[in-house]
Amino acid sequence: MTARVLIRPKQGILDPQGQAVERALPALGFEGVTNVRVGRLIELEVDDPARVPEMCERLLANPLVEDYEVLITETADSST
């Protein structure tokens, strides 16, 4: 099965990347964009999806400064 881990900076934790993107968008004519947060996406094929949260705690995410969310999908999808 394919697990998707969505990792984002914790609320309240400074997110320089998100700030940079938020500052850049209006200049490109994209108005009305707020709360930009830049995080990481990790996709993996796992035999046992139940263990993914544990992987996040121990390796994939930095629980100190990041929140994560696990999405399980039946099959991989990597098209646009």
């Binding site: 309240g12 934790i13 400074l14 997110d15 320089p16 930095n62 100190l64 400064v65």
Partner: protein, 728 residues
Amino acid sequence: MSTLAAHRELGLTDAEYEGIVDRLGREPNGLELAVFSLMWSEHCAYKHSKKLLRRLPTEGPHVVMGPGENAGAVDVGDGLVAAFKVESHNHPSAVEPFQGAATGVGGILRDVFAIGARPIAILDSLRFGELDSPRSRYLFDWSVQGIGHYGNSIGVATVGGEVAFEPSYEQNCLVNAMCVGLARRDRLIRSAASGPGNPLVLMGARTGRDGIGGASVLASAELGEEDASKRPTVQIGDPFEEKRLLECCLELLDRDSLVALQDLGAAGLSSSASEMASKGEVGLDIDVSTVPLREDDMEPFEIMISESQERMLCVVEPERLQELLEVCERWEVRATQIGEVTDSGRLRILDGDESVGDMPVTALVDDCPLYDLEPEEPAQPIYPDPPVRIAADADAAETLMAVLGAPTVASKRFVFEQYDSMVGSRTVRRPQSADAAVLQLAPDGGHGALAVSIDGNGRRVACDPYTGAVEAVLECALNLACVGAEPLGLTNCLNFGNPEKPHIAWQLTRAVEGLRDACLALGVPVVGGNVSLYNEGGGGPIYPTPIVGMVGRLPDPERVPVSGFTQEGHAIALVGPFAPSLAGSELDKLRGHMSDGLPEVTLERHAEALGALRAAVRTGELVTAHDVSEGGLATALAESCIEGGLGARVDLAPLRETLGHSDRLTALFGEGPGGAVVAGPREVVSALPGAILMGEVGGTSLLIEGDLELEVAALDERFEGAIPAAFA
């Protein structure tokens, strides 16, 4: 909150709390208590170290700014000064190594440009547990990446540093960062606020909940099991923000637009504002409702103590305010007037038009009770013997390989290749190519160069706090002498355990006495530094670790020797009052032994020898100069072979004669201050006063008569491979 219950939570003793009530003439409210608890913390008030620090010599012909300002500064000629300081970020790095180390660099950079100097170099001094521990590998790896991330991104060269691995740092790593800056003498600015009515402007990042309580919680309490609970206070560094802030501040100083400038560090606005007011003997009114926030629901007390990074505070005359805002705009730096200078002598905190805090500045800055240490020499050694890592019957060759492969001795290429060591185009000697980093003052090298070194050996200080501290100063001075530099000033960071324990107090006292005596003997003033106490994890106190950073000047960078051998046939000699002993040596450690005491050092002889070596180097005739430190003479010779890719044939019999004893292992691996390996044309080397000729450069192996012969390729592989191997 009920403040009476709260003060202990915030790390204040009942007596200190009473002192606060006295000075206020009433009970403090929550905000006031929070501010006092930080201003009166060890980190900000130096309450256990201030009296001791007064013993350090701070006067010297070159001193322009001494302790008390954000960084010290020494005159380097041509109307220029070098500003520098070392600071610790130990506990934040133990909690989150990447951000802890990164923000440590960000903080020391701000201390340097806060006095108007452009940072030109960073050095780092790191201590971790042994590399066979996964936690130590993790802390080491991510601290290094954090330092690189910040320094590389902001464009300041990281030109040197040191790393050592000892069991005592397993629970409590040390991350000390030093920054050196350059300024025109007439551009230096101080942090004293003045001129009642002058606007107080906050520049840089928005204020968030970063490091709330960081100073008191992270920096002044022993790390226990509950680290995790402290984690939400982790600060995130943004080098891009600081880069703009740096350029913006330097442009404002070039335009002479500022009255005073101060960085925000530990305890945030509370500390910076009261320091500025105290130095200028004025008062400040701050309206927290004007501070730009990252989270809108912050309490006034949170705003006052937040340790959000990349912020500076300045005082400007009303008629220059507009200009200041325009410069900030151009650099995309947020700038907001958050208050003004008053003549009240008080720090008044407003939330809109409601007063939420009102404290006498002197009470905050000067009235924190200072404590006398109660030093007591421990009856028996307090550190366990390190694990045995070498066979008792290992021969000289096996021993050399073992020593070269010890992570503390081995090449730190893994570290310094992760640092941009050349941005700024000043770096004449990169890491490992000479004993001290050499930075030319002008692009053409024509105006001479600075030499910088940072050193300390906690294990030797643990063996003998006084002599160990003396040796740290001597090693820095020797590193400088090896590139022909004369020391101008010194900074230091005192990393110790809990000073309320008598044996730690004893270590601290003896170490400071050692620093003092060495500085006096060499005529090097202490212009600044930092103290980090309570470095104790579950495993007990760290080795006492005074770190010394020294800045010197040399006339001609074209003449600076390298640490490697460069030419077949060059004569090799040992110079300096080198009296090797296995006590406290790397070999002693590999054998699982922790010595009690180190051989005494005669400072006068070292001062003389340093002058002689410096003079010899300055003639430009010496091609190779490399100091003998961890691992002893055999290691120093091996390093010069490896660095130059050339072999050497030497005989240590003349040395053993001079030493008056015949122990081969002591001559090979014994350690002690003051020795340097030099090489060059025979007539030059043999003419050196007191030089002991050992042999000459040549061949593909290092041959030490009657002791060992090893291929340079094999030495190289061991030396360069040891640390990468730990990560394989």
